[in-house]
Structures are given as structure tokens and as C-alpha cells.
Amino acid sequence: MTQDNEEDVFANRPKANTFFNQLKRSFSITKKDLRIYYNKGPVVIQGILFPIVLFIAFTLGRDIENIYLISGLVTMVLFLTATSIGPVVFPWETRQKTLERLLTCPISIRTILLGNIWSSFTFGSLFALVPLILASSIFRTWGSMKPWIIIPGIIIAALAFSSFSLILSVPPTDTPANTMMLTISIKFPLVFISPLFMPIDPTSYVLISPLTYFVDIINTGFTGTSAFGSYGLLLDFGVLLAFGLVFLLLAFFLHGKTVQKRF
């Protein structure tokens, strides 16, 4: 072994720096995330507790159309769960002292971030199906549901909100509670300014919330008409896609900088 020449050192090793290989490795990160975080505080609190509390707060004593009830609930659950792991993974792993080992592996920080996105995506979309199915069963809206609109809508929104949530873990802290504070102070206002449990007024401030466009997708998925006119769905998907992409690139860039400060 000692006689090998230098070429041999790198030969016969798995290829590492192709896009496909890194993508594959990001799924391993996802597997780990799912195994570790499914029962961790932030996920449970934000995925189950918050939606229930907020749901009661929003709907108590109000007379709400069934469709808005469904779209509001699905949006809230999807947004809160899809953004629940992203912010805690880095501080958690820093604190648990597993981050350094992870970073030494032949993967880029983008691979880790992608892995985190897939896991948030999985949580978000799975959790969102629960109220969708429950409410649809209760209100018997199956007949009017258009899954070819709703399913892609859930996928794109879960991805967009997941990449958005990664931004919240950029500050190099090792205390998940710190990012939780930041997270809550950004996530809650977003929920409150969104047109949940009510019709969308396309001329109002609700336009600035990305959640609005997902609400519109779900509404359209049941009623067939978008609040934004005949090209409404195109706008909805376009905005969510752009929103997700911008935050993905921002997360790649910012994490690349702050990861150096985590040691």
C-alpha cells in the first residue's frame, strides 16, 4: 500500500463532486433528519400545537365558508411544519457536536442544505395532507377537488417554504431557542397578514405574503376560479417558484459564509 503512486490514492474512490452524487448524498442527510427530528420539540410544537391554537384563534365565533376553512388550515399547517426543521438543524447539530463530523464528509454545504429542504418538504407536505383529507371528508368536498392543481401546489409551496426557513438558521448560534425566537417573530406575522379563512382581496396588502398564493391555489383547487383572474394559477405558481428560488440561493450564499463561524 505504501508503494502506491499518488494517482492510486484518488483512484478507485467513489466519484464525489458530480451533481448527481451530491444529490444522492443529500437524500442521506434527509434520512438522518427524518430519523432524528420527527419527535423533536420544535417540529411537534409547530406542526401540531401551533396550528390547533391558531386555528381556534382565527375561527372562533366566526362564520366561515368551508372552502376557506380548508385552505386556511392546510396553508397554516403546511407553512408551519415546512418551516419547522430548517431553522433548528444547524444550531441543534452545533450543540450536539455532530456538525464538524458532518462537514468533514465529502459533501458541500449546499448538499446539506438540500438535504434539510427535502426533510422539511416531507414533513410539510405530509402534515398538510392530514387537514386536507380530514376537512374534505367532513365537508364532503371530494367531488369538487382538483388534485392536479392541489398536489403540485402543495409540492411547490412545501419546497418554497422549506428553503425560506433555512434563512432563519443563518445566524451561527448553538441554541435552537435563539433561532426559534427569530423564527416565531418572522413566521407569525406572516401568518397574520395572510388571507387565511377569508376570501382573498387581490387589491390589498395580502399580496406581499407568499402564503396568499398558496391559499389561492387551494381555493382554486376547489372552486375552479382564482382570485387573480384567469391567469391566477400561473401567477400563484410563478410567485412561489421565484420566492423559493430566491431564498434557496440566499441560503446557499449566507450559510456558506456563516458556517465558518460555527467552530
Binding site: M1, F10, P14, R25, I29, T104, F263
Partner: protein, 334 residues
């Protein structure tokens, strides 16, 4: 051939009140010692060295010397402020992922994933190194067996003892079948038995041709394991040599702590053949000697002859820091 070549490597940290993670204490203490450079810590300061293929290379130094920072740069996770690292003739900065593919790393104070089983921990690392499914399983089983963890492979690491976690961490470092293995303080904080197991395995992997870079602040471990040792202090390499020279250096600072009833005449003792210097301390005398055995005899003789009652006599191993201070002061060189 050189496995690693390091040229003028530096890492500077800017101190701010709101630091990220870890090392807050030593960081503080460094700032205290060196108020002149407050705001800038030269954790690693223009170091250069080579590591030959197949050798065990030790980085020896006291707390805060810059060992971990050096390792972090060599493993590609910390970007140097200055300097160049070449690994098997490839620039680390330009080929990070390719090079990491042939490395293994056991970080200082790292931990395994407590919510995963031993097997899942190894599987994860195997997957991240792109090891095929079959090979992953083989390697994991082999390592777990070697490190006596096979019976625990399907228990969550939460249930492991500290020594078991450290051993699992070593398995994780070896999962990639590395050509170069980095061990940051591999035995610190472990009981004697665990550290013996680990030392034996280090020797075994070295014998099989692996290049190993380890850090320690324990001179004896460095002596026992390393082919060559670089001594670091305050970010600089102040000596680089084979361990037998270090051993010699250590011998030069053997001393005795003598607890004795009554006054002794320091001058008289200093005149004895094997005694170099006597310092009066609180309640005892610190005697720097040439040859420990002969000096002990002389001290006992002296006490007898002068009717003094010896209460206690401790031999004294020099601390690394003390040897350093001598080296830095130019009293000795390595």
C-alpha cells in the same frame, strides 16, 4: 512521498463579544494574556511542515496552541487566512471534496448522533462517502466488531457509555477507508483501558500503511505513537523532530519535590553532583536534577548526614508548558 504539504499556513480570528460556539474560555484567556492583539487572534501563525506518507505525525501543544484549528484547515472545513495546503500534490482549496473522499476525521469533542443506532451512524457516514450498500454493511460490521460494539449495533447511541461513543466515533472516522486519518485528541478524557485499546488500534492502522495525524497535549502519548512531532505554541511550530529528542528534553527537566523537617542549606545541596538547582517553595524544596536515581540517593544521604527527617519525596515530571517555556526562552532547542 509527502501526503501533506503545508506552507505558511495562518488562521486569524476576529474577536467579537458575540462569538459563535465553543472555545469561549480559552479565547478569553488568550485575549487576557495578549491584550495588545485584542480583536485579532492568530490561532495559527505562518506554520509550514510536511507529513510523509505512512507516518504518524503528532501536533503537540498546550491548550490554545492552535492544534484543532490546524486540523480543521487540513480537513477542509475551515478556510485559512493565508497559506497553502497540498495533499498528494493536489491543492486542498481547489479539490476539497475530491480530497475529503480519501480522509477520515475524528474531531475533538465531537459526538455521534445520539438518536441513531451505532449501525445507522456508520451507514450515514458510509453513504456520505458514497460507499456502496454492500461494502457499507461489510465495513460497518467489521469496524463494530473490531471496536467491540457489535452487540450494541442496533441500540441508539444515547445508551452508549462515553468510551463506547468515542469508539463509535473512531469507527465513523474509519468508515471511509481513509488514506489519511485525523485524530484530534483521540485519548483525552478516556479511562486508561479505553485509551490503551485506542492506542493499540492506532498502531495497527499505522502498520497497515495509513497516514495518521494526531494532536495531543500529552508528551508520553506523542512519544509512544508518533514518528515525528511538531510542537506548537501560540499558533507557531516551535520545534519539529523525532520523539527520542523530545524524550531527552524531558529528562533534562526531571526534578524532585522534597518535604523535609527543619532547614536545609540550599548551597550545600546544590553542590551535590547530580543536583542542578534548588528552589525553596512553600513547605518543600523543588530540586532540579540531572539523574533522578542518583539524585534521590544523594538527597537521602544528605538528610541522614545532617540528621534531617525526610517526610516525603516526590519525583516530578515536567509539564509540557514548562518545557515550552524553556524552549521559547532559548534555554534549549529541539
Amino acid at each position: 512521498m509527502n501526503a501533506i504539504e503545508v506552507k505558511n499556513l495562518s488562521k486569524h480570528f476576529t474577536l467579537s463579544k458575540k462569538r459563535g460556539v465553543g472555545q469561549k474560555k480559552s479565547n478569553q484567556s488568550l485575549a487576557n494574556k495578549n491584550p495588545s492583539i485584542s480583536g485579532l487572534v492568530k490561532a495559527v501563525d505562518e506554520i509550514s511542515f510536511d507529513v510523509k506518507r505512512g507516518e504518524i505525525f503528532g501536533l503537540l501543544g498546550p491548550n490554545g496552541a492552535g492544534k484543532t484549528t490546524t486540523i480543521r484547515m487540513l480537513t477542509g472545513i475551515l478556510k485559512p487566512t493565508n497559506g497553502k495546503i497540498t495533499i498528494f500534490n493536489k491543492d486542498l482549496d481547489k479539490n476539497r471534496i475530491l480530497i475529503q473522499q480519501i480522509m477520515g476525521h475524528v474531531p475533538e469533542m465531537a459526538n455521534v448522533y445520539l438518536d441513531l443506532t451505532g449501525m445507522q451512524n456508520l451507514e450515514l457516514i458510509g453513504e456520505l462517502y458514497g460507499v456502496s450498500r454492500k461494502e457499507r454493511k461489510n465495513r460497518a460490521e467489521l469496524l463494530l466488531k473490531k471496536f467491540e460494539l457489535l452487540n450494541w449495533k442496533d441500540s441508539k447511541a444515547k445508551k452508549y457509555s462515553k468510551g463506547m461513543r468515542q469508539r463509535l466515533l473512531l469507527c465513523m472516522g474509519l468508515m471511509s477507508d481513509p488514506v489519511i486519518l485525523f485524530l484530534d485528541e483521540p485519548t483525552s478524557g478516556l479511562d486508561v483501558q479505553s485509551s490503551i485499546i485506542i492506542k493499540e488500534l492506532i498502531k495497527e492502522y499505522h502498520a497497515s500503511g495509513m497516514t495518521i495525524i494526531l494532536t495531543t497535549h500529552d508528551m508520553d502519548i506523542a512519544n509512544e505513537l508518533c514518528n515525528r512531532i511538531a510542537i506548537m505554541n501560540k499558533g507557531k511550530i516551535i520545534g519539529l523532530d523525532e520523539p527520542h529528542n523530545l524524550r531527552k528534553l524531558k529528562q533534562e527537566y526531571q526534578a524532585l519535590d522534597v518535604y523535609i523537617k527543619g532547614e536545609i542549606k540550599i548551597q550545600e545541596i546544590e553542590e551535590l553532583t547530580n543536583i542542578k538547582k534548588v528552589q525553596k517553595k512553600r513547605g518543600y524544596y523543588h530540586i532540579i536534577v540531572d539523574n533522578l536515581k542518583l539524585a534521590i540517593g544523594e538527597v537521602i544521604e544528605y538528610a541522614k548526614a545532617n540528621n534531617l527527617q525526610l517526610e516525603k519525596l516526590n519525583t516530578y515530571e515536567p509539564k509540557l508548558e514548562e518545557v515550552f517555556i524553556k524552549m521559547i526562552n532559548g534555554e534549549t532547542t529541539l
